[in-house]
């Protein structure tokens, strides 16, 4: 659907985006992750034809961004960061203006606006000036704006920034709903969001791609930390060591926390073995009370930290 090749953008001498190459498949929800100033917004702005790349090419379907930028803009819907909309226009006026520019036929405009108002939940603010809306509503109006022409590709720049948890959940739900049929590119620095909504994540740092893949693949590629954490009652550290050290694949047992009521220990195992069954069987033979038992999972957060703080 979209091919980005060697995309580079200089602001005077500053290199904001440095030779980025990636593909986006049809129907995919792609998350662009990265710390602030990594070049996410710049990349999206080039993708939408707002900025001209210094070097490199972008192809959307069979169109190249240099020659057919107008055609590409017709395929795209874009929600910039913070949804900068005209403050003194009414929501309805604004959406009908967008409908006109997006060349929606006159007899379908009202129906389309109604449909979007339902989808984005902005029915109750249709006749208020945009400047008076809360941030959440503004974001939704921006979303309605982006979806006006039923675009094949939706580009969202930090769609949930500054929203409260309820609004975030709602916007995510909307994105998921749209994402079933559309190709969506969204940027975010909220990792749980990327994990929850995106099929694939591209992590950018200092203008370069440092990782590319689904959340699961990213976790694998970084190397699995294979730790088991146990919370036990009625046990002491020494007996735990004795009991569990005999298991072959356990490399180390460390005490995390000890109190009157319970004892928390961490077992680090050799990579690629799952010892949970074996550990559980051993514990069952003793009279310890098992309060907590889980395998620690590598989160996207730790991967992100690792990849973006190295350099």
């Amino acid at each position: 659907m979209i091919q980005v090749e060697n995309l580079t953008k200089y602001y005077k001498d500053l290199c904001a985006v440095n030779r980025i190459t990636f593909d986006i498949q049809k129907g995919e929800i792609l998350g662009l992750l990265g710390p602030n100033g990594a070049g996410k917004t710049t990349t999206l702005q080039m993708l939408t034809g707002f900025l001209q790349p210094s070097e490199g090419s972008i192809r959307v379907k069979d169109l190249s961004i240099e020659k057919d930028v107008l055609e590409i803009k017709k395929l795209l819907g874009y929600l910039p960061e913070e949804a900068p909309l005209y403050h003194d226009m009414l929501v309805y006026d604004y959406l009908s203006y967008v409908a006109e520019i997006r060349e929606i036929l006159k007899n379908q405009r009202l129906a389309r606006i109604r449909q979007l108002a339902d989808l984005c939940g902005i029915n109750e603010v249709m006749h208020q000036p945009i400047g008076e809306l809360s941030k959440g509503y503004k974001q939704r109006v921006g979303l309605a704006h982006a979806m006006m022409n039923d675009p094949e590709i939706l580009v969202l720049d930090e769609p949930t920034s500054g929203l409260d948890p309820n609004q975030i959940a709602e916007i995510r739900k909307i994105i998921k709903r749209i994402g079933k049929e559309k190709t969506i590119v969204l940027s975010t620095h909220i990792l749980s969001e990327a994990e929850a909504t995106c099929d694939r994540n591209v992590i950018i740092n200092q203008g370069r791609i440092v990782a590319d893949g689904s959340a699961d693949n990213l976790k694998k590629s970084v190397g699995q930390a294979n730790n088991i954490s146990l919370i036990l009652q009625n046990a002491d550290f020494k007996s735990i060591e004795e009991e569990l050290a005999s298991l072959d694949d356990i490399e180390n047992i460390t005490r995390i926390e000890e109190s009157d009521r319970h004892l928390q220990v961490q077992l680090s195992c050799k990579a690629s073995t799952d010892l949970r069954a074996a550990v559980y069987k051993r514990i069952k033979q003793t009279d310890w009370v098992l309060l907590g038992f889980h395998q620690e999972i590598q989160t996207l957060e730790t991967i992100f930290r690792k990849l973006t703080q190295e350099n």
Binding site: E71, Y78, P80, L85, E100, R102
Partner: protein
């Protein structure tokens, strides 16, 4: 072309939903009315030359005030990012906004028709120069709107845009009145560059291609400058 019309419509509407439009029109009418009637009864002539004589000066203040927000505001709140990612070209944006500001000035001129109507009811008014004057007034407004739009494309601060626009319009208006400051060899060129000189020709009822060429060049340069400024940001 369709896009130009949509942007034009939106911008024109934006003028009239904010109180600024009415304030500017009121100031425009008060200023032109005062300048006109100040001398009208002294001359004891059934003509509205006095109105057109002062028009370029009044325009130099009023037009930058209405064009200053056209692009600066978009840069400031960031909405031009949204605008330019919709299927419109720079030319669509600039022409739409330009025509909206000209349309607004035409709307501001309409109430001034009361002057020739009043005058014609109390004396023998020659309608030729009046019609010529109004055509000139619209063309002059277009030229100044192009300048105002250009200055608005240079900055995200509306006040700076206003001052740049005012400076250019004011200079063009007064240029041919300040010829005694300049060496004689430059006089022909400077006289030709003055907007007031060309405008007064038209307002006498003489529509000369030289004057039209002048105003269209000013429009073109202003709009093209705005186009370049947008491209630069791109």
């Amino acid at each position: 072309m369709q896009q130009v019309y949509h942007i034009f419509k939106k911008e024109l509407k934006a003028y009239f939903i904010s109180p600024i439009a009415y304030i500017v029109i009121a100031i425009f009418l008060i200023a032109t009315g005062w300048f006109f009637f100040m001398a009208f009864f002294l001359f004891d002539q059934a003509s509205i030359r006095g109105f057109f004589a002062w028009l370029p000066i009044v325009y130099s203040f009023v037009i930058p005030a209405i064009t200053m927000r056209l692009l600066s505001e978009e840069f400031n709140i960031g909405s031009y990012e949204i605008l330019l990612t919709m299927p419109v070209t720079f030319a669509d944006v600039i022409l739409g906004k330009f025509l909206a500001s000209v349309g607004f000035m035409v709307a501001a001129l309409i109430p001034t028709l009361a002057y020739p109507i009043t005058v014609s009811s109390i004396g023998q008014l020659d309608w030729g120069p009046v019609i010529g004057g109004y055509i000139g007034a619209v063309i002059l407004a277009a030229a100044f709107c192009a300048i105002g739009l250009f200055s608005s494309s240079l900055t995200r601060n509306q006040i700076i845009a206003f001052i740049i626009g005012l400076a250019i319009c004011f200079t063009l208006t007064l240029l041919d009145k300040m010829q005694f400051f300049f060496p004689p060899s430059l006089l022909g060129v400077l006289g030709y560059l003055g907007a007031d000189f060309h405008f007064q020709n038209i307002s006498k009822g003489i529509i000369d291609t030289r004057d039209l060429v002048y105003f269209f060049s000013v429009c073109f340069i202003g709009l093209y400058g705005a186009h370049l400024a947008l491209q630069e940001k791109h």
